[in-house]
């Protein structure tokens, strides 16, 4: 666009400063990171903030309502079907849900990035093979395969995280492959090659730093994806196992009383919604800020 190219002329600031300025002006990014930061803090300090032991049950105190809806301030968000403090479970649940998202995204990120960068950098036959692997992966029905695996190997946190990690790498591979292809053909990479730098060195020092932005974007996407999928698996009874309070599992447990105590599903549902919302905002923000030419 005419306008933006001209407007850059006047800026004499460094790219880093420009980035920071754009980031600070991007309300989505700011809201996203603030919310996510808050949730991370909650997760980290759950043992200090939680008013009760999230696993302590009291069968005589079941389904206490939210404090301002007729409950007590002893249990501000009420209690669940086993009389456990809902607020405490929610706070601890942040840990589980974040862990699931983060670890799954890291596993899939590692697999996908290795595949994608390899394919993009070497091209040719390597690329063909990787593309084939990606197609195979994409053609496998994720939910179905995840369910089958969890059903076979039992639904522990480890299994769920591993399954999701091994199923969600496709976006990483696709995006990393494209980004690497683009960067590979750039002059500075060509010159590094001409200078005789080793392949590993080129990939680590020239390619990786430049695909990092895209990676952050995909990580956020896949984190959100993993968390949502875990909730779906939990709903179908094949997610993480109780008494772990993942938000997905809390929704799944709360759904039994959907018609009678809707707060049981609304509270963790809202928490999950905010988490996903924050992650998506962050991802969109990073994309907008780091790649202004792609800004919609």
């Amino acid at each position: 666009m005419v306008s933006s190219s001209r407007s850059e002329i006047n800026h004499t600031s460094t790219p880093g400063q420009q980035l920071r300025r754009r980031a600070l002006r991007h309300w989505g990014l700011m809201i996203g990171s603030a919310l996510l930061g808050l949730i991370v803090l909650i997760a980290l300090f759950a043992p200090f903030i939680a008013p009760h032991d999230p696993y302590a049950q009291d069968l005589t105190l079941r389904y206490l309502r939210v404090a301002f809806m007729g409950g007590t301030w002893e249990h501000p968000l009420g209690t669940d079907h086993l009389g456990r403090d809902y607020l405490s479970r929610l706070l601890y649940g942040a840990r589980i849900s974040l862990t699931i998202g983060l670890v799954a995204a890291l596993i899939s990120g590692t697999i996908g990035t290795i595949l994608g960068v390899t394919a993009g950098y070497f091209g040719g036959r390597v690329d063909t093979v990787v593309m084939f692997i990606i197609t195979v992966r994409l053609s496998m029905p994720v939910v179905l395969v995840a369910l089958a695996v969890v059903a076979l190997f039992g639904g522990s946190l480890t299994v769920v995280v591993l399954v999701l990690g091994f199923l969600l790498w496709d976006q990483f591979a696709v995006v990393m492959r494209t980004s690497t292809q683009q960067i590979r053909s750039q002059d500075y990479v060509t010159s590094a090659r001409a200078l005789g730098c080793s392949t590993t060195r080129i990939i680590m020092t020239e390619i990786m730093p430049n695909v990092f932005n895209n990676m952050i974007v995909v990580i956020t996407l896949e984190m959100a994806h993993a968390i949502i999928l875990e909730a779906a698996l939990s709903f179908l009874g094949l997610g993480v196992q109780p008494p772990l309070p993942s938000w997905g599992l809390m929704i799944a447990e709360g759904k039994d009383m959907l018609f009678f105590e809707p707060f049981l599903i609304t509270i963790p549902g809202l928490a999950l919604f905010i988490l996903i919302f924050a992650i998506n905002m962050l991802g969109d923000g990073v994309r907008d800020v780091t790649a202004p030419e792609n800004r919609n």
Binding site: M1, V2, S3, S4, R6, S7, I9, N10
Partner: protein, 332 residues
């Protein structure tokens, strides 16, 4: 005056984050039927936006204003988008710089050639097709009928530009605005296309506004020339006047960049205008060319008016004509 196109003090302003960008700062021109006006300038001087402003095709963010913008006696500034659309392609048409991307890849060239005529003239497809074939042959495309079913990607750049030119002629416009139509082409093809355009113009009696940065092209085609710099015309005149007696230091600078057959000695250095076009945010203080001008002086802090330098030849400079004519560019 009974000119076809008459422009007075045309301005284009674009609000950007840091202020108001003023890429076109008040230009005026008159164009008669069958005449060719070349607007010459470096990239970024506002010439493309000028052409878009004439067509009413400015980006939405841009604001266009002026004292007068009349075409065939009709005031274009007062027209609605709808009325303007009826005019575009029919009375005024445009040829763009990028033949590679200016055609829609998804449709055949036949389809793209005839759609404007069907809309404006309400003719049948068959009739429009006949006209398209006729014009394709006119622009020098062989086997024109079979070309109609081809897609843009199947044609070379030169052919595509010929198609674009044919397309602009479909409704027999009174004015063609050509924005660097040959820049993206090979030099040999450039020459052919230019000759063809000149011939067609003569044959069909159209007026043409030809925008280019290439004085070599200008020499081949122009009746009159306007040299544009930083959003304004710094020198206007007939082709002869500009080439023979360039007056503004910028024009002289541009001309010194041009090898002249028979005048420029083999191996001699060509000139170059040092410096860059100033940023156009918030307007320009004083003469926009001052920072690059060898004749710069204190008076240049005030922007000079375009002043008559004899027989319709105008120049925007504080210096008097003899001083200007005398001055030589030190080759860089």
């Amino acid at each position: 005056m009974n000119s076809l196109l008459s422009v007075r003090n045309l301005r284009v302003e674009i609000p950007v984050g840091a202020g108001l960008l003023k890429p076109v700062r008040g230009i005026s021109l008159d164009l008669n039927k069958g005449e060719t006006l070349c607007i010459v300038g470096e990239s970024g001087c506002g010439k493309s936006l000028t052409s878009l402003a004439l067509m009413g095709l400015l980006p939405k963010v841009a604001r266009c204003s002026g004292d007068r913008l009349s075409f065939g006696g009709q005031d274009l500034l007062g027209l609605t988008e709808r009325q303007m659309a009826r005019l575009r392609g029919r009375a005024i048409s445009m040829v763009f710089q990028e033949p590679m991307t200016s055609l829609n890849p998804a449709y055949t060239i036949g389809d793209q050639l005839i759609e404007g005529m069907i809309r404006h003239d309400g003719v049948s497809r068959a009739k429009a097709r006949d006209r398209a074939i006729f014009l394709l042959e006119k622009v020098g495309i062989t086997a024109a009928a079979s070309r109609l079913s081809q897609f843009p990607h199947q044609l070379s750049g030169g052919l595509r530009q010929r198609v674009m030119i044919a397309m602009s002629l479909m409704c027999g416009p009174d004015l063609i605005i050509a924005d660097e139509p040959t820049t993206a082409l090979d030099v040999t093809i450039q020459a052919k296309i230019l000759r063809m355009m000149k011939d067609l113009q003569a044959e069909l009696g159209m007026a043409m506004v030809f925008i280019t940065h290439d004085l070599g092209v200008v020499a081949r085609i122009a009746d009159r020339i306007a040299v544009m710099y930083a959003g304004i015309f710094v020198e206007t005149g007939t082709a002869r006047q500009i080439f023979d007696t360039p007056t503004h230091p910028y024009t002289k600078g541009l001309l010194s960049c041009l090898p002249v057959p028979g005048k420029t000695k083999l191996g001699a250095r060509l000139g170059a205008v040092p410096g860059v076009v100033p940023a156009l945010i918030g307007g320009v203080q004083g003469c926009g060319f001052a920072s690059r001008c060898p004749l710069r002086q204190a008076a240049c802090d005030i922007e000079p008016e375009l002043s008559e330098r004899g027989d319709g030849h105008s120049c925007r400079c504080v210096h008097d004509t003899p001083t200007l004519r005398k001055a030589e560019w030190a080759t860089a």
